[in-house]
């Protein structure tokens, strides 16, 4: 079972200038004390076109994590403008917060981010080369997209098994393919052949 569930992610200081750091206040709940740290990452998607432009803004270890509710603030620097394709600098993109345990990602929280010029003038006549110092970043905090993955929380040896277990359809629908061999053989109800308290309404 998932030992850690994210209760809330609050986006702090939003909207803010492009160059100011990202700040997320993350609250999570842990049902059993974790042996190792959690690793959190903020990934800035530079371009929808390709993962090539993804920037890992920061990664941080969080621990120790006993059972209970916890919170922390995850702060990361603004993305490096030099790594963002000029055509994608202005407009909508995505920032992702991921968390991994033992190198396995179990939750991914995504936010749409809108980078635009606050002044009407610049918006109508954007400079040919994006002016990052003028850009304002607005994270659509009200609509996080949360994806959870099942991972193995226990010892490392069991990990392979857990990955096998992740296709539950296999396990559950098995019985559908079976038909009782003899159950079909009862053509109808012949009362005289059946024991006394038989069900004769079939």
């Amino acid at each position: 079972m998932a030992k850690v569930s994210v209760l809330n992610v609050a986006v702090l200081e939003n909207p803010s200038p492009f160059h100011s750091p990202f700040r997320f206040e993350i609250s999570f709940e842990c049902s059993e004390a974790l042996a190792d740290d959690l690793e959190w990452k903020i990934i800035y998607v530079g371009s929808a076109e390709s993962e090539e432009y993804d920037q890992v803004l920061d990664s941080v270890l969080v621990g120790p994590v006993p059972a209970g509710r916890h919170m922390f603030v995850f702060q990361a620097d603004a993305p490096n403008p030099g790594l963002i394709p000029e055509t994608d600098a202005v407009g909508v993109t995505v920032v992702l917060i991921t968390c991994t345990y033992h190198g396995q990602e179990f939750i991914r929280v995504g936010y749409y981010v809108n980078n635009e010029y606050p002044s009407l003038e610049l918006r109508e006549n954007p400079p040919p080369k994006p002016d990052f110092s003028q850009l304002q970043r607005n994270i659509l905090a009200s609509n996080p997209r949360v994806t959870r993955f099942h991972i193995n929380w226990d010892s490392q040896e069991d990990r392979l098994e857990a990955i096998e277990n992740q296709d539950p359809v296999l396990g559950c629908d098995l019985s559908l393919s079976y038909t009782p061999v003899k159950g079909l053989a009862l053509p109808g109800c012949v009362p005289s052949l059946l024991p006394e308290n038989s069900m004769d309404c079939i």
């Binding site: 209760l7 941080v60 490096n80 909508v92 539950p168 559950c172």
Partner: protein, 963 residues
Amino acid sequence: MKLLKPTWVNHNGKPIFSVDIHPDGTKFATGGQGQDSGKVVIWNMSPVLQEDDEKDENIPKMLCQMDNHLACVNCVRWSNSGMYLASGGDDKLIMVWKRATYIGPSTVFGSSGKLANVEQWRCVSILRSHSGDVMDVAWSPHDAWLASCSVDNTVVIWNAVKFPEILATLRGHSGLVKGLTWDPVGKYIASQADDRSLKVWRTLDWQLETSITKPFDECGGTTHVLRLSWSPDGHYLVSAHAMNNSGPTAQIIEREGWKTNMDFVGHRKAVTVVKFNPKIFKKKQKNGSSAKPSCPYCCCAVGSKDRSLSVWLTCLKRPLVVIHELFDKSIMDISWTLNGLGILVCSMDGSVAFLDFSQDELGDPLSEEEKSRIHQSTYGKSLAIMTEAQLSTAVIENPEMLKYQRRQQQQQLDQKSATARETASASSVTGVVNGESLEDIRKNLLKKQVETRTADGRRRITPLCIAQLDTGDFSTAFFNSIPLTGSLAGTMLSSHSSQQLLPLDSNTPNSFGASKSCTEPVVATGARPAGESVTKDSMNATSTPAALSPSVLTTPSKIEPMKAFDSRFTERSKATPGAPSLTSVTSTAVERLKDQNLVKELRPRDLLESSSDSDEKVTLAKPSSLSKRKLELEVETVEKKKKGRPRKDSRLLPMSLSVQSPAALTAEKEAMCLSAPALALKLPIPGPQRAFTLQVSSDPSMYIEVENEVTAVGGVKLSRLKCNREGKEWETVLTSRILTAAGSWDVHRQVVVVKEESLHSILAGSDMTVSQILLTQHGIPVMNLSDGKAYCFNPSLSTWNLVSDKQDSLAQCADFRSSLPSQDAMLCSGPLAIIQGRTSNSGRQAARLFSVPHVVQQETTLAYLENQVAAALTLQSSHEYRHWLLLYARYLVNEGFEYRLREICKDLLGPVHCSTGSQWESTVVGLRKRELLKELLPVIGQNLRFQRLFTECQEQLDILRDK
């Protein structure tokens, strides 16, 4: 009969494998397949029962969903108390859920408020033992055990009082075990498996009672589940899938000789599930019809792979009703409501059906009283001896009683509203940590946050703990189970006694505090958001340089940006830059482990220190544990300290109880020897702050040496005792205490009395040894023997009385848990508890609960409780006397023993009209008897059967008060 298929009960089209209605009938649980995991959902029952509620949008339909199971959930079952829900699934786990009351409704993050969990159920135990899918789970009739079966061919019996303890693993099936059922009186458990057998196991020794194979010989193919069921009267066990003349049946197995002569026939495919109605019925008495007394009968629902459901009454030869085409796929599980008039059926097709019967159709359900009468007449043991249903017909004769009953109801209401308030204000409760509101914390979180660097330079944040989980139910209730052995027992005793008597030792409360904080180290770590990391902001500037994650996916270039993003939200990054992070994780893990170990090492010491006042003592206590058969003497020393006369008449009273024959005694004061016959032991009175040695010698091979040191300020005396007997030498450390005068105990008298007694009567002819000697705060000497018995000296009778025996069968058979006001009440502290050892033996009791005939059980319980009352009396432990007396009375009330109850009341009340010749004493161990009786009255009032006794006592107490 009404039939309803509530379409809103679904797992988004995924199969539902199990359904179970909560005992209070307000909710039900379903288990099955979730999106990419197993899923358990708790639903509200009222929208199923009432159309208005179904339409009312303010009434929630789904109360909680849990997708914690990694794979499909095969079975969900409520405990009989309704407190817990157990679920078992293909991930080989059983999870036990309990409702968390302190958290209000919450939404699942990121689900845009649609999937709000109205109730919070959290997993309190995960039971791991099975090596394959768990197919069925079942709670025993009294919730003492939980059984689970699995495709690993085993059945596991869990101790439900103490998860995750395993009581037994039943091996014997050679195929996948797919169904379980308990006998309603708890004597057997039956399991059915793919190996074409049904096995019945005894709960007495967890061995196989019988294996039934004949009806299953023809069985071929596989059904997903084989949920069998035992009738509520216990007479019949009905199997799932069996065959008779090539036709699928549900085999009826008689308890008497396990005969298999009858079956339910008619389903066209294998029977997957059989479920008996919890009620026993009798024919509806119609006006005008002859009042011919009819036999009570049971009602049973049978579900099959042929997608049809049949409901049978054991008094009819044909089914009451058969419903075809109810589902598109096989029926998987059936659950009756507790009133026996409704059933929920679930199917592999992912839907649920509800059937509502009327009493005209099924008959009149027997009351619980009648049902228990049937059990009692058949098995001598009933499960429900006193139930409210039974009392509802009694007439209340006394206005006082009525008042009392009303008050009780009011209290219950108050409690309910109080818990409601609690949940309502939950957010504010959890929102405060260490007096700071959550808002304040949030404002300063970044500044306060503790951030460190790991060895390889990675940032590591210590999260701030904002709330504890209330999952510790099974452990915290028993946090007192710190082993009370050796010197620790001594210090515990002294800290306890001083807690009750003297507010002398300021450290005493800490001993409890320390043991508590052991279980909650979280607070400590969370509460230390030290201000060191204020300057950490600047560090962020130099934090890890942005790194590109290696791209594996190449997204097509001509995709709408939004759609392109969509995949980014949901797709796990294929390659995590794992190598460096993993190593750092392990290195920090080691670091963390060290930290934890340090804390762990510290804790017990803290505990010792705080409860024993000084460091020296701790170090001194160690050698004592080296000797196995040690003689420990707890010397309670009185210092009568009067103002202006510091320690002038301080007395030291070492007691040497091992003196067995008249012999010369040598008391040594520094270097001085003092000889005296042992029977007239003289007590040396040492000057303050002077160590002395007392030597008692009977013959050359036996002597006791006592060494005392009085510390300068602490008032704590460290004493070392050397005992030499038969050539062997043991050395122990005595913990003794100088107490400021409190109470007026004549220590002298005690000592004198004790000196005159020999231990021959107890120790004669056996090689037992005295393992521990204690002196209670009332000066009653208590002696523990190596065979687990404990005796205390009764000064008025001049005898040694047995107060505790570890092997006492009474203590093990006695079951008075129903009389305990709460689980915590077991843990009444005091000398008696310490002597008897505070291990909770409810598990042991539970293990024997059903194996002993009820009458015997009652007798042993009574005897045990009486012994406890008497022992507490001899020990003069008023606190415990009161505890056990109330418990005894409660048990008498519950079980309906009027005569004994009356005796107690009579004694407590005493003569109402003063007569000079009365032997009656108004107090017992310092408690006023009539006050005790007043405390007893509400207990008596709980059972309407005793309302006359209640009235009598009440009236006479009033008369006395008016005088």
